[in-house]
Amino acid sequence: MPVRAVLRRSFYQDSVVLMRVAAELRGLPGVREVAALMGTPANHEMLRSAGLATPALAGATPGDLILAVDAETDAQGDAALAAGGRLLEERQRVREATGRVRPLTVESALRTLPEANLAVISVPGAYARLEALTALRRGLHVFLFSDNVPLAEEVELKRVAVERRLLCMGPDCGTAYLNGVGLGFANVVPRGRIGCVAASGTGLQAVASHLAALGEGLSHGLGVGGRDLSAEVGGAMTRLALEALGADAATEVVVLISKPPAPGVLGRLDEAIEAVGKPVVVCCLGAGSRPGAPGRWVATLEDAARAAAATAQGRPWSPRSFEDAAAVRARLGRLERGAPPAGLLGLYAGGTLAYEARLVLEPLLGPIGDGAGDGHDGAHRILDLGADEFTVGRPHPMLDPSLRDARVREAGRSPAVGVLLLDVVLGRAVHPDPARSLGEAVREARALAARDGRALHVVAAVVGTDGDPQGLARQVEALDAAGAHVLPSNAQAARFAALALAPALAPGLLGAA
């Protein structure tokens, strides 16, 4: 198994650029595995476990680029390395051709753009505090995409931000919208009168996409990072963001998206919601309803969008299991039957969507495991494939769907899986066509199951809009053609998956026919 590798000293490239290079090289003849990464300690570990470490790479530092290829022959490995070198040089050439001088620091960038009002920061987590602190001290709001930032650093950054009345969106903030401009992984949605405060990137994407389908748009979508309502952070940024939307003339209705706040934070959150002075819809996934509390508390991301749209449009609204029960009944009638019902496997790219599916399904199906498939989880499992344990040394599944596609195929071979539940997240800066390869994997998995005399029901929801580069309708069509059942929301997909496993749930979920 010859491994060919090159080391380029002081040649920093960001992880998205490197992921694209690796993906290109994986498609070359004879190439079995590729690593294109910087020489960080975690990446050295990854190289060792992938069998791609060579003595020549041992001294690589975080500023040094590593290209390593495992190919069938030395010549094929060398050809792939040469191709990788050409891709990087081409990129460098295009960059230099713009003739723009690139400042080396935030400080010097501000000399080029003195009127800047926002820093978008996505450096590796270990370096994020330094960049974010510099930006905040220079009066910039911060969108902090970086993850793996220690909690104590988050507390410090947000304290500095609040003192200056600046937004520090994140760390680990996947998505935000400011003045109609999407930041990070954002769907293409219209501007409008609904303002969001979100502790979850995919949660914000889902609500923004549902709002677009309901004819509403966003004034702003302010991300706060997943830990903002923890006891340590105390909701510092959620409270500031709520205040900002309360004062914002373009915002008529506010939606708050989060997991449940820490008990000690709830009182301060209630006060902040009360102080908004506009209708507030609260979706703290897992918190349940809180009659009498300020704001309208709803159970799912879809319900958050529907409640907000109805409020803005002056319509009454109450939650329903399915928007179109007759269509669901018809779908259920078409499901192949015969084999005894097996378990549910959820394979998710969006962490919040996985969490929401679990909340919807546990009351219907009982406990649902989250393990890596060792068989000790009981009949039903939901995996968040974007979680750290699945993404070590790999890009997030929203960027690179290949890992999930492989697991979908695997599920076709497993008699334990009767229903597969999936999410697909569209938008800018994510994979250009996730449903194509996922559709192929679904088709293959269903064929494998059928060959063994089993039915495999595949249920999916797509988060996105027709304005997205991938096109919502095209993605739904590709999955549909592969035999997947695509429901209009993640919560509805989860309920449909439950019905596919346990038809006896129909009267409760669908009402009388």
């Binding site: 002081s10 960038a109 800047a116 926002l118 930041l183 702003h220 900002a244 914002d248």
Partner: protein, 57 residues
């Protein structure tokens, strides 16, 4: 005052990290300066330590 410097104002962005974000913003007509970021020499813990010394200084 600072909050009003963002909401309702045109975005002007300093991008530090993934270039794909600068490319997307530019396509939206937002003014962006991309910082040519690279990891500080030495390891991250040392950089953090230096930053803290600076804070205290």
């Amino acid at each position: 005052m600072a909050l009003e410097s963002l909401l309702g104002q045109p975005l002007r962005v300093v991008n530090v990290g993934l270039e794909v974000f600068a490319e997307t913003l530019e396509a939206d007509g937002v003014s962006v300066v991309q910082v040519d970021w690279r990891p500080p020499a030495g390891d991250a813990r040392l950089a953090a330590l230096l930053a803290r010394l600076e804070d205290d200084g």
